[in-house]
């Protein structure tokens, strides 16, 4: 009788193991999809920022007659985003756009009338808001990747990961240039 009971419990354990394996496998698939979704959600905001830029440039043009170079840099970076084909190009173009926008907002300090313009204030607030959201979503993307990569190396998930050959994902990292301290120059020109 004891043998039958042991067999029954072993069968239950086997069933449990199979179900647990399925749960882990499905978890990996869900995590991979979450990572893709988080990445795409960043794109949604980048697109919103892209769409808001022409309005900002239009407002700035009226005031910043002497800053054509800065404005042209923003326009150029925007068009680069539009024409980027590969993921790497896209990333570079977006980073460039972020940089040129930063320069633009720094230059704006010299134009009190522009700063006082309601339209500019609204647009700059909107773009800053989008920038904050982009930063949040990048953090969220990295959090998803970290959870996924941790799961890949944890027991018992590592067994399932090796069985089905799940590969680690890469974190979003910034351009090494941006790690350097910012040098602020007050020279006009």
């Amino acid at each position: 009788m004891t043998g039958w009971i042991t067999l029954g419990i072993l069968l239950l354990l086997l069933l449990g193991t199979i179900i647990y394996t399925i749960i882990i496998y499905n978890g990996f698939i869900a995590l991979k999809n979450t990572i893709s979704q988080d990445w795409s959600n960043i794109d949604v905001l980048l697109k919103q920022r892209f769409d808001e830029l022409p309005k900002l440039i239009k407002v700035c043009e009226g005031y910043m007659q002497h800053e054509q170079r800065t404005l042209e840099a923003v326009i150029k970076a925007r068009s680069m985003v539009n024409s980027a084909r590969t993921e790497e190009q896209q990333l570079q173009a977006q980073n460039m756009l972020t940089d040129t926008l930063k320069s633009l907002f720094m230059v704006v300090e010299r134009y009190p009338e522009l700063k006082a313009d309601a339209g500019f204030r609204q647009l700059s607030y909107r773009i800053t808001e989008i920038e904050d959201q982009i930063a949040d979503r990048r953090e969220l993307y990295n959090a998803s990747v970290t959870i996924y990569n941790t799961r890949l190396r944890q027991f018992p998930d590592v067994v399932v990961a090796n069985m089905f050959k799940f590969q680690p994902s890469t974190l979003w990292t910034i351009d090494p240039e941006h790690r350097q301290d910012v040098t602020v120059s007050f020279a006009t020109g």
Binding site: I9, G16, I134, D136, I147
Partner: protein, 670 residues
């Protein structure tokens, strides 16, 4: 009290101003003032002692307070040289008033300087105000808490056990005499025609008389509310002589302190201090001389917190016209968002989660009835016996616990696998957010009357065997609320979710508080609540809420209706000028209206950027969990799910063993 000891007394803020935390941090960084204690002392509706110590230290703190425009006084309080004398009668001559005391007469000359203190010596004022404030918080919301104005406080004092003190001051604001008036314990004949049969009314008349006769007059009614040294009242019944004596001593101390503050030159009249923002008289003085006590900083000081502008703006917008009790009614109403009543429960629809257990129950019930009708009660017994003896029942239970065990395991992993989103950047889909629970509606727990975002009330009744049976379970699953994480707030609809409330209270019907027990103990209730302000964990599906209000079609129809009833506008579409609108003309008008409405809606949408809570809601979606839990950490929550899962799986293994054992025995018997 040593003369070397100095106090800083502050005018409290009714609501934390902007950058209040920065202000507290500044006080800590510069002067090591405990942030929590400073917060306690700076928030309120009256005066409070912020700190005490040697003069040089206090002057430094005072300078910091001056930088931030915090209304304060630096004083070295005088000792109470004498207490006010009780009066037995009075005589009014022109504008001067002479009070008859036990041993002497005290005259308050016309155009003199008088400070009055009116207080409820039973110390019930603070309790009443606290009760009203809690009720206001519960039913109006924390952002719309209604503070009682001076007129209401005045009335509340008169309704309690009022005592009135008058202090006669000389040109240097030094106390030269003081009298104490107990209503109904002096001869009111001196009031002349103004005297009445009501002792409290006489007190009011006397107060008015003194105010009219004085050149400079201040009335203070905050005893019991102010956090000043030696002014803490004790709750006293009429017969509690010790407490009354203590409170009268506090009143004397308070009066002398108010004189000290007035001597500093800028003490606002309480009748001029609003419940919300400082009033113009005070503010003008403040803006002209930002530092009242230390007096060293000039008004040109550049270091400013935004508070000054905020107060000035508030005064310009809100309180510019008011100056005293008489004008309180004329004050423009400041609109604050008041919480609305919770929505009524919607009729519950059939869901797959409910229909299966119900179908199983109904099926079993009918089978049982059929067997009874067929007079086969022995068959019922046999089925029960065989289903247990063969191990079928333990096996079914084993399957159920196995399934539920893995269900909890799946939930645990789902929680672990979902990263936490910031609310301001929340995306559509499964999300996890953490933050404080904020009410959207004026939801109050039915038994404990606690303002909460969610409650579940279970009622029990004792059966014949003296065991508690559940008779009803009600909850607020239909009432949505907000979660706020510092970056924004988002609406949460708890319907259909797994909700873990952190606060549980039990009691009996008729029980009030912890001390008054109910006589009937055959029923009891248990209330689980998520109290407003607690930290919440929410895992659910974020989606955009359906647009409320008029649809495009409805708006077009409305505009067309308006157009029909406006002949002047219709003329514009009468192209052939025959005075009638033909079908073609009407089509043109319709097309133009549609175009205009569409443009208007697009421009409105662009102009009005909606806040997060206005269009995103986290709720339950079919096949996806909604978990709302009051927990201090995610690990704690997943730990609970893990423990439940392990328990259920172990139980399942044990039940499997039992069912196999029973099955083998059953076979052997057969």
């Amino acid at each position: 009290m040593s003369q070397d000891l100095f106090f800083i007394v502050v005018q409290q803020y009714p609501q934390p101003p902007q950058r209040f935390d920065d202000f507290l941090r500044l006080l800590f960084d510069r002067h090591q003032l405990d942030m929590f204690q400073s917060r306690q002392r700076l928030l309120g509706r009256s005066l409070a002692r912020l700190v005490q110590g040697p003069r040089d230290e206090m002057e430094k703190i005072s300078a910091t307070l001056g930088e931030t425009d915090c209304i304060h006084w630096l004083i070295s309080p005088e000792k109470v040289a004498f207490v006010p004398q009780r009066i037995y009668g009075l005589e009014v001559s022109g504008k001067s008033v002479t009070f008859a005391c036990r041993d002497q007469q005290v005259t308050f000359p016309a155009e003199g300087t008088v400070l009055a203190v009116l207080a409820d010596v039973s110390a019930g004022l603070a309790e009443k105000l606290m009760g009203r404030m809690l009720a206001s918080n519960a039913y109006r919301g924390r952002e719309a808490v209604r503070h009682e104005d001076q007129q209401q406080i005045f009335t509340m004092i008169l309704q309690g056990q009022p005592v009135l003190d008058f202090y006669r001051l000389d040109e240097d604001k030094k106390v030269t005499a003081a009298v104490r008036v107990f209503p109904g314990r002096f001869n009111p004949q001196g009031l002349g025609d103004s005297g009445t049969l009501s002792s409290r009314k006489n007190l009011e008349v006397l107060l008015k008389l003194m105010e009219e006769g004085a050149g400079a007059f201040q009335l203070h009614t905050d005893l019991g509310l102010a956090m000043l040294p030696g002014c803490q009242l004790r709750r006293a019944d009429k017969n509690d002589q010790d407490a009354l004596k203590h409170n009268l001593n506090c009143m004397s101390r308070y009066g002398w302190l108010m004189v000290d503050l007035w001597r500093q030159g800028s003490l606002p009249r309480e009748s001029e201090r609003g419940a919300g923002v400082p009033e113009p008289g005070l503010l003008d003085t403040l803006l002209a001389t930002p530092l009242m006590a230390a007096g060293e900083l000039s008004s040109e000081t550049d270091v400013r917190f935004p508070l000054r502008d905020e107060i000035a703006a508030a005064v310009q917008n809100g309180g510019a016209e008011s100056s005293g009790r008489e004008k309180a009614a004329d004050q423009p109403k400041i609109r604050v968002p008041i919480l609305s009543s919770p929505p009524p429960k919607a009729a519950t629809g059939w869901s797959s989660r409910r229909i299966w257990p119900l179908a199983a129950f109904v099926g079993g019930f009918f089978l049982f009835i059929l067997l009874l009708l067929a007079d086969r009660s022995d068959l019922v017994d046999q089925i029960a016996y065989h289903s247990i003896a063969s191990g079928a029942v333990p096996f079914v239970l084993a399957i159920l616990s196995f399934w539920y065990g893995f269900y909890h395991l799946r939930i645990k992993r789902k929680i672990e696998n979902t990263p936490t989103s910031r609310i301001r950047s929340i995306a559509m889909g499964m999300v996890e957010v953490k933050g404080r629970a904020i009410r959207k509606y004026a939801l109050v727990a039915p038994m404990s009357h606690t303002p909460c975002v969610y409650y579940r009330l279970t009622r029990y009744r004792k059966d014949k065997n003296d065991r508690w049976r559940v008779i009803s379970v009600t909850g607020s699953e239909n009432v949505s609320f907000f979660v706020e994480d510092g970056t924004g707030r988002v609406e949460v609809n708890p319907a259909g979710g797994r909700i873990r409330a952190g606060t549980r209270q039990e009691g009996f019907p008729g029980q009030v508080g912890l001390t008054r027990f109910a006589s009937d103990r055959s029923e009891k209730w248990r209330e689980d609540t998520i109290v407003e302000g607690t930290l919440l964990y929410v895992l659910g599906f974020a989606s955009t809420r359906q647009e409320q209000g008029e649809t495009l079609r409805e708006q077009v129809q409305r505009v067309l209706r308006d157009l029909k009833s406006d002949p002047q506008r219709l003329k514009k579409f009468d192209l052939d000028g025959d005075g009638k609108i033909c079908v073609d003309e009407w089509d043109t008008a319709r097309a133009q209206v549609e175009k205009e409405v569409l443009h208007e809606r697009i421009s409105q949408r662009n102009q009005r950027r909606r806040r997060q809570e206005e269009h995103i809601v986290i709720g339950r979606q079919k096949g996806r969990p909604l978990i709302i839990a009051e927990t201090h950490s995610e690990t704690h929550l997943t730990g609970q799910y893990r423990n439940i899962a392990i328990g259920l799986l172990v139980l399942s293994a044990a039940l499997t063993g039992v069912s196999i054992y029973l099955l083998i025995n059953y076979w052997m018997v057969l």
